[in-house]
């Protein structure tokens, strides 16, 4: 069986772990980012707040003029980089500081506000810098704004954010790649296990699972399966040996018996009545031999896992051959034997066994269908596989009997009385069908019997 890599549990597991891993790393990176951003902002806010407090002190001690002087002095001489000051009167007109004018449309609410400042960059180009500021209302109605150019900090935070996003993306990518690499490795091993099992079920009992020596769970599985196959091979071997010796032990005395009878028959002194009796005995012997052969064939077919020596067999061609073989016999019994076949219905199997199966079915029909009836052999495509059908216009098999006529030595009461047979025909058909992994169904042909064999795809 071919495994779809996207449907394996290994892949799903890898995917799951990938998602969890990526989620964890993302949470970590995002927290660091948010924390850094907050720390930076707090630092800026603290500087602004301290300066605003200092300047308010200045105002309290030296009044408005003192504050204006201090602002001029700070801006001109030692002022920190990026510092922004503005002192306005109650009409928001500039009194002092290094800003050109009131940057807001009105009075900002809240303690902290932000605005953009047009400035000159290092190469004298026009740039807009973000400024964070706080405004304090002085007791005489003037307003003091202290701010800070936060361009650098914002740049740093933005770079940090980009790095965080890249980090998350890369983590996800690495997770997916590592996951699929891992799951491919796992899938490959499971695939090899499945292929080996297929081969074993296909009849190759010499195949074994690969044990890598890594002592991992796959080695444990491989060892367990190998052990099982060892036992199966042993059992099959033992069964085979048992059948072989049974065949030998049963046939050897029959062989000697036959030899003795034939030897007597060749004796020129034997008189006619003796010859006749020996002839009759030989015919009985033939019957015993035939039954024994069929039994052994059934036993072997039932004990094997799959068909040995299998080749592609064209079912249609086989059906034609068998119909051609049986047609004269059918005509002799005034039966019509027809074949209807689809082109190219090929199955893998043993032609001899399949021929025997078909022969048994046709012979069954020949035996039971009364003169004037018909036997129809059909071969047709059914989905990916093929179907072989033998239908007749005979008495059929009552539904209650259908399941157990496939067992050895079961014959219908009506049949037992009228016709000679071993009672093994359908059992052999069932055994051969099973050996070929084909489904066997007995159906009502209304009237008659319809035997349907469904073979899987090649």
């Amino acid at each position: 069986m071919k495994i779809n890599p996207l449907r394996t549990s290994a892949f799903r597991l890898a995917l799951g772990y990938g998602v969890i891993f990526t989620f964890g790393v993302s949470a970590l990176l995002v927290s660091i980012y948010l924390l850094t951003k907050t720390v930076l902002n707090n630092e800026i806010d603290a500087v602004i707040a301290a300066e605003l407090e200092g300047l308010t002190d200045e105002y309290n001690r030296f009044g408005l003029n003192g504050l204006a002087d201090e602002l001029t002095w700070r801006t001109d001489s030692w002022g920190r980089t990026g510092a922004v000051y503005l002192l306005v009167d109650s009409h928001l007109a500039k009194v002092g500081g290094n800003l050109l004018g009131w940057p807001f449309a009105g009075i900002p609410r809240g303690r902290w506000s932000e605005f953009y400042l047009d400035a000159r960059g290092t190469n004298d180009e026009q740039v807009r810098h973000p400024v964070r500021a706080s405004v304090s209302l002085l007791p005489d109605g003037h307003r003091l704004l202290v701010g800070m150019d936060v361009n650098q900090e914002r740049g740093f935070v933005s770079t940090f954010r980009t790095a965080t996003l890249w980090g998350i993306g890369l983590t996800a990518l690495v997770g997916v790649l590592a996951g699929s690499w891992l799951s491919r490795g796992l899938t490959r091993r499971v695939q090899s296990v499945a292929e080996t099992c297929d081969a074993i079920v296909g009849g190759d009992l010499s195949r074994r699972m690969l044990v890598t020596g890594a002592r991992d769970e796959f080695d444990a599985l491989a060892q367990a399966v190998n052990f099982m196959v060892d036992r199966l091979a042993e059992k099959t071997q033992l069964l085979r040996a048992t059948f072989d010796s049974a065949a030998h032990d049963l046939r050897a005395p029959l062989y000697r018996l036959r030899g003795r009878l034939e030897d007597t028959l060749r004796d020129p002194n034997a008189d006619q009545s003796v010859r006749e009796r020996i002839d009759a005995s030989l015919q009985e012997l033939d019957h015993v031999q035939r039954t024994l052969s069929t039994l052994l064939e059934i036993a072997q077919a039932e004990s094997a896992i799959s068909v040995a020596h299998s080749t592609p067999v064209d079912l249609g061609e086989l059906a034609s051959d068998m119909a051609e073989l049986y047609e004269p016999a059918a005509r002799q019994r005034q039966l019509q034997l027809t074949v209807r076949k689809d082109t190219r219905c090929e199955v893998r199997g043993n032609r001899q066994l399949l021929a025997q199966l078909l022969a048994n079915l046709v012979e069954n029909s020949l035996k039971y269908v009364p003169a004037g009836g018909h036997i129809d052999v059909e071969v047709e495509q059914a989905g990916a596989g093929s179907r072989l059908i033998v239908a007749d216009s005979g008495p059929g098999i009552p539904e209650s009997e259908r399941s157990h006529v496939l067992q050895p030595f079961v014959r219908l009461p009506s049949a037992a009385a009228s016709t000679a047979g071993t009672g093994l025909g359908l059992s052999l058909v069932a055994a051969i069908a099973r050996l070929h992994h084909a489904q066997l169904a007995l159906e009502d042909n209304a009237p008659g019997l319809r035997v349907v064999l469904s073979f899987g795809s090649v």
């Binding site: 072989d244 065949a247 030998h248 049963l250 046939r251 050897a252 029959l254 062989y255 000697r256 018996l257 036959r258 030899g259 003795r260 034939e262 030897d263 060749r266 030989l282 012997l285 031999q289 035939r290 052969s293 052994l296 064939e297 072997q300 040995a308 020596h309 051959d321 051609e324 073989l325 049986y326 004269p328 016999a329 002799q332 043993n350 032609r351 001899q352 066994l353 021929a355 025997q356 022969a359 012979e363 020949l366 047979g421």
Partner: protein, 229 residues
């Protein structure tokens, strides 16, 4: 013709030996696989008949070994193992024919004759086969009896061809089933007899001297009775 029988079942061996000697063959016997192999490799036999289950050496291993040694003597395997699988194994090992025990002696005799004939007649691909006034042209696929064309179906043609290739020798029903239909099992019905009677209708009907004869308890033979008598 010198034959070698390798068979450990003494009583069974005696029947085969007696029968084949009565049929005019010189036959030696070995009851042991290894000993039989030594004799077989000497190369003085025209045919080797061996049992499959032998003491000291399996019959199939013996055949394989012979073939590896380059011994081309035809081998007929007798075996108590008779399933389809066993047969395939037997033929794969390099044997020329495979007979399941118990068999009728006539079956063995017919197969022995066929194998011996095959080994002495090097020309296996004649273009014409002929018995008395019956002629078969294998190239144009035409059959003439006394100059008159006989219409045959494809299968009847194959059946007649098989008989003609063994002209003068008995072919059994199983041999026909194997040779003409490539089927290696015994049908329960007398199928071959029905086919033969149809062939006889076509070939012998209307002629004073029939060519196809039934051999009681054995099979069929095509021959000109007057010549053989």
């Amino acid at each position: 013709m010198r034959l070698l029988l390798i068979e450990d079942d003494q009583e069974a061996a005696q029947f085969v030996l007696k029968g084949l000697r009565e049929s005019g063959y010189t036959i030696e016997h070995s009851a042991d696989g290894r000993e039989g192999l030594f004799q077989a490799t000497e190369g003085r036999f025209d045919l080797i008949i061996t049992d499959r289950m032998l003491p000291h050496m399996d019959g199939l291993a013996l055949v394989k070994f012979l073939r590896e040694q380059g011994v081309r003597t035809p081998v007929l395997v007798l075996s108590a193992l008779g399933t389809v699988d066993d047969r395939v194994q037997g033929l794969k090992a390099g044997s020329d024919d495979y007979l399941t025990k118990p068999f009728a002696f006539s079956e063995l005799l017919a197969r022995v004759e066929a194998l011996l004939r095959r080994s002495v007649a090097p020309d296996n691909s004649p273009t014409r086969l002929k018995v008395s006034d019956l002629e078969m042209d294998l190239l144009s696929r035409r059959v003439l009896r006394a100059g008159r064309e006989i219409e045959l179906t494809a299968r009847e043609f194959k059946l007649l061809e098989f008989l003609l290739r063994h002209a003068g020798h008995v072919v059994t029903r199983t041999m026909l089933l194997e040779g003409v239909w490539d089927l290696h099992f015994d049908p329960q019905t007398n199928l071959i007899d029905v086919h033969m009677s149809r062939l006889r209708q076509a070939v012998d009907k209307g002629f004073a001297r029939p060519l196809i004869h039934t051999v009681r308890g054995a099979g069929y033979v095509i021959r000109d009775e007057d010549q053989s008598a």
